[in-house]
Subunit: 456 residues, 2 copies
């Protein structure tokens, strides 16, 4: 560190989620800091999780996915935002980053007192020839979103093949069915959404079926044959060949760590950047946050890779505050994720039973099915709750919920219990709302916890 | 205690909510116990909170409000249910209750080893002449529900006056407007729902106005003039006189403690029966649970009166288990209540700012307004969150939420934070679900907690 706190130069690498979060926080904590944020694309602060809804048309205006333009971050927050600038090298001993200006194709050096690496993640490649064809898309940037929207509008594809049955695969199945396409979903396992419990996954499969999504199980793509017009014509798998006017690859993400590695920033056991609770890496003055880095699990206390926008924002705050001279700590994190698949609400919080077993917990689970409201009220729907607990500590470790309206919002209450390391008995004794339009006398969460309690 | 655990005779006084809950739990804990439940009316286990929806017609079949008939409790649970039996005396030294059989008008004595008082609450009387007229109703029993339904169906009243602007007043306003009646709501304060924060109450008042409920502020009823046909013709107040074909009195409830008092069972500072954490009263072997008794506040640790069906059931369990020879403890309780007033969802959890001030907390509050989902998603609605915290301990003490769909279910997550005595900072660091159909990147609860944090 060279200057006093007030004159600190903070450089942020990456402008999608954790980067802007860190930059905004740094300026707020230390208004005299000079904060520069480099972003290789043209877009900062993009709501990529909202892209499927822009593609389906549910969100009518795609530009709503950009809460901040570079100009707004500059004018309202005082952050020196440089889009189309790619950081190519970090020189930790000199406290310098080497940056390529992609417009002018020049290299510039920028000095920093504190550096925040927020390089995010990239979509996993299929590594099959044809992947670069012009009707094959990933969905990980504004450009991808616009490309897919444009391709559907101009080329009017009739048949879509989605490869990958995770969250994005689910959302894109729904989006493309909404757009009127035939959808085939090619997945490497028997059931979609590998991180969820089997009962949840079965329900999702049924919902896909019910809505005309052709789900191909235990399939791996062997070829993406490209026609004369430069487009993939079909998707060949070990389970058959499927005609495709458009192909969406949704194989998950991996952390962007090349830049960090080249600067000898240490990676953790998950392959993402390791940090301490202050989001500082092994190198003094270099922080990391977001999809490029690990966080500590509130369940196991171990490093985990949770590429979620919420955690990126929170970790970004911590990195930004500490880079600016503050003393923030990152609280242990849980996975808290949800998706609507046609009419089915699905959420997971905490760890899965498999993850818990791998972490050596004595896993006990319970699944119940209940009404979301007083049964005789209009709009009352069935929902299912699966709880995952540890026989030894009696703690709640994870949960799945699925069902009709009102399922997902309930999952947050379980998420809090997990993040706060509460016992199942605590959950069973929650005072929850009973009101006919909202919940029965015994909320489904209480029913589930009380049933599970009998096994502990 | 006379016999060994297995042969224990357990008597439960009252069959509405806590009583059945206690009886069922006692039998489950100790299958060889003999459990007798006396209930003065014909009905046990009635969902009185659902009555407004049976009256409005939203619930089409009123009998759905009875999850258990006496026969079912007898056959499936092995409980000796005696309806139309009123317990008139407890003789603690003899371990005997004196019971009037209201069919035969005979008195019988029943011996007990453990006694559970679950005598519930009664609607507060207006104490104005005319209160007993045949078009004036309380709403606290199945008979009341049926009487109101029958009166509306047969007499087709056009003008209703509701006295009391609490939860039942709100629900009945909505129900009677749904049935097409003109509704005047006479309330003693400027705003409805005295236990909520002013901003919430203003929003409710606006929603009542918007839906044609004539809300009369700061009004007290001076007379209920009765016409020649034995019906109240209008409601006279200090703020004007209002024509009435039907009058609903919704003035809150008070605990039924006469029986307990006559047996020298001690009452607490709230006027309800005092118990320890095991739900035992000052008299060994006599337990109390439900609306007749106090509970310990999870916020303040002090005795409070929270006549809620959820707490009654939970306290009933504890009383039942302990009466059967178990060792259950009642966890501290919070108020968790919600109501839908026309299109407005409203919930409160924990204490109000006023209650917190009276309990000597250094109260800090914050109110924010946010979208329930990603703003550009269809169905996203505005919601408001008010948090109430203690400057000294930094704990969250209470919250109000109101707004569109998705407001109320969020309140449970805050309720858990309050019941678990979490700090506002813990809430600000919750990992909550971000998914466009369900919540924005920063859930309204997180926005509220982070804003409040700036004041602490």
């Amino acid at each position: 560190m060279t200057g006093p706190k007030a004159q600190r130069r903070i450089v942020v690498v990456g402008g999608l989620a954790a980067g802007p979060s860190a930059a905004v926080k740094a300026v707020r904590v230390n208004p005299r800091a000079s904060v520069t944020m480099f972003e290789a694309t043209e877009t900062v602060s993009y709501g990529i999780c909202e892209s499927p809804y822009a593609i389906s048309g549910l969100i009518g205006d795609e530009s709503a996915l950009m809460p901040y333009t570079p100009e707004r971050l500059r004018e309202e927050k005082g952050i020196d935002v440089r889009t189309l600038h790619r950081v190519e090298k970090i020189l930790p001993s000199k406290h310098i980053v080497v940056v390529r200006d992609l417009r002018r194709q020049t290299l510039v050096e920028t000095a920093y007192d504190a550096l925040i690496i927020a390089t995010g993640s990239s979509p996993r490649a299929l590594q099959v020839k044809g992947e670069e064809a012009r009707n094959v898309f990933h969905l990980s940037s504004r450009q991808d979103t616009l490309d897919i929207m444009h391709y559907i509008a101009s080329e009017k594809p009739a048949q879509a093949v989605i490869v990958g049955g995770g969250y994005i695969g689910m959302e894109m199945s729904d989006a493309l069915r909404t757009k009127g396409l035939d959808v085939t979903l090619v997945h490497r396992h028997r059931l979609p959404l590998a991180g969820l419990e089997d009962r949840t996954r079965e329900a999702i499969l049924e919902e896909l079926d019910r809505n005309g999504v052709h789900f191909v199980t235990n399939a791996s793509v062997s070829a993406l044959p490209v026609g004369k017009d430069g487009r993939v014509t079909h998707v060949a798998t070990n389970r058959g060949t499927f005609g495709a006017d458009i192909v969406i690859l949704a194989l998950g993400v991996e952390p962007n760590v090349a830049l960090a590695k080249s600067a000898k920033v240490r990676l953790g056991p998950t392959g993402a950047i390791a940090t301490d609770e202050r989001q500082q890496t092994n190198i003094d003055g270099i922080y990391a946050a977001g999809d490029c880095s690990e966080v500590r699990s509130a369940v196991t206390g171990l490093p985990v890779y949770l590429p979620l926008a919420t955690i990126a924002s929170r970790a970004g705050w911590v990195a930004g505050e500490n880079a600016a001279g503050g003393r923030a700590r990152m609280k242990g994190a849980i996975r808290a994720a949800a998706v609507q698949i046609f009419a089915l609400e699905v959420a997971q919080v905490g760890v899965s039973a498999d993850e818990a077993r791998r972490a050596k917990y004595a896993v006990v689970t319970e699944t119940i099915s209940c009404w979301t409201k007083v049964k005789s009220m209009p709009g009352s729907a069935k929902m299912s709750v699966t709880l995952i607990a540890d026989q030894k500590s009696k703690r709640l470790l994870g949960a799945n919920v699925f069902g009709g309206p009102g399922s997902v919002l309930r999952a947050n209450t379980l998420g809090v219990a997990i993040q706060q390391r509460l016992a199942v008995e605590d959950v069973a004794r929650f005072d929850m709302i009973y009101a006919p339009q909202f919940a029965p006398l015994w909320d489904p969460l209480l029913v589930a916890a009380n049933q599970l309690l009998k096994k502990l």
